[in-house]
Symmetry: C2
């Protein structure tokens, strides 16, 4: 079981900006929870995403723990170069299965993004890095509605042919439900049985853990999650975005599945995250505590 903590990047990128010092503190605390992977920063244009303007400084100041795999998200070749210069060897790029979402998010068509990604993969591979392609809106698009698993599968085929090392399926606005998860996972697995596959759920409509459970039953072992549920839209109080890491870990541990994560340490970090963003985070386990005092 492999949890990737995305609070420092995906989480903080979708919150009001916080000081560099706080980002480093959060990242360092997460590195000591036992989590195996952390999405640390994104190298994006500071005008586009001011929350990540200090990515180089954050990463330079962070204490890198042995045994933790850190990754960075990049939008283009400029970001790729920054990520490589910073020493990252695990790089994420993103494309939306929905063309409308891709145009609104990246200002180009899905087809154009796929062409860009093919070039990025080559140059990142040449520099010795591995590339994960994140397919956003894999389970539905807020503009287009349902997204056919065939569209998602076609993108997988394309990026795998172009050399992608790993795939992540993003439930960008919380539209996934169990049968939709099963449809995408089964379809992709059938054609690419050995492709490393990660699922990224939002808890916008309460289904995140049902989706995780569905994916577990299908043999998926990699999930994104965000400490405290960091990354809910700050302008809609209480709105829920990324599923909270402690909720995923809490359920997995009670199912007898080890994540390597110390839940108690993770909850300390969730409290820190809450203090950093200055609002109550949407995490039931943070609010109520684990089901048992001694639960891990």
């Amino acid at each position: 079981m492999s949890i990737r903590e995305v609070g420092p990047r995906d989480g903080l990128q979708n919150e009001a900006p916080v000081p560099t010092e706080a980002k480093v503190r959060l990242l360092d605390a997460l590195s000591r929870t036992g989590v195996g992977r952390i999405e640390a920063v994104s190298f994006v244009h500071p005008k586009a995403i001011p929350q990540m303007a200090d990515a180089d400084e954050v990463w330079k100041s962070a204490t890198k723990e042995d045994g933790v795999r850190y990754s960075a998200l990049i939008p283009n070749s400029r970001g790729a170069q920054r990520a490589l210069d910073a020493g990252f060897t695990e790089i994420e790029v993103v494309v939306s299965a929905s063309d409308t979402h891709n145009r609104r998010n990246l200002n180009r068509s899905t087809a154009d993004s796929l062409d860009d990604i093919a070039v990025l993969i080559d140059s990142l591979h040449a520099a010795g890095a591995r590339v994960e392609v994140i397919i956003a809106t894999s389970f539905g698009c807020p503009y287009e509605g349902d997204v056919e698993p065939a569209r998602v599968a076609a993108i997988v085929d394309r990026v795998v042919a172009d050399g992608a090392d790993r795939i992540a399926f993003g439930d960008t606005t919380g539209m996934a439900t169990p049968p939709r998860v099963a449809a995408v996972v089964s379809r992709v697995r059938e054609k690419h049985p050995d492709l490393p596959m990660l699922l990224h759920f939002h808890n916008t409509r309460g289904t995140a853990l049902a989706n995780v459970y569905t994916a577990l039953q299908l043999g998926v072992t990699e999930f994104d999650a965000s400490v405290g549920g960091l990354g809910g839209c700050p302008y809609a109080p209480g709105a829920s975005g990324n599923v909270a890491t402690e909720e995923v870990v809490h359920m997995l541990h009670d199912m007898g599945i080890d994540t390597g994560i110390d839940l108690s340490a993770l909850l300390d970090v969730a409290r820190m995250a809450q203090e950093i963003v200055g609002r109550e985070l949407p995490s039931g386990v943070l609010r109520a505590g684990p089901r048992l005092p001694l639960a891990r």
Copy 2:
């Protein structure tokens, strides 16, 4: 698929008291959503539970819809008589699988409560009513911790022998996870394959819909839910109690399972419930809307 709406009773009983008129308005609006069953009121001592002091008046003023089955919760023979006098033919009684919880909640041992229930079942049957026994803390107790499925199963055996018509398993403080749900359901089903069985989940730690999904896979077709998630403790803002009806319905409909409920009408009632209790309710579907504008 049968959803029982518990907002008017279990929901409002765990909120700060609201006016009689608001209770009637909520109940009437729910009756028009297409939901098949509603837990309407409880007949308890007004000093013990002031929120239900006006149960007789609420029920008398409510518009009873054909095709909706209404039920009432009762704690003892006095409550049973009030429920019968009010015309209820579906009556719920409660006992905790955990002795400590039973003592704190009902001021007697689980064994004593079971003896009381045996007597209540006889008198209610004699009056022509059906009796559902709700087993609280079926998946864990906040005082005792884990509750063995064998203890739950033994209570089922006992109350079935005493004539209980139906059983509900309550996840009283949100301690259920998929394997715990599977353990209780499988164990009880094995011995009582035809016993009508209902599951009542709280979303305290994010697992409610994962638990519903687990139970669905095991063939369970009856679930409690509370409009808007009414019934979270009012003194812990944002704390999540009963799973929100619209979250259950939203997931079921997207899974192609009809509930008979008009989701759009239900969301209108959830907004009404929010206005009645004067606080934001913990429901993702209420906050974010359905995954599609046209979703039902």
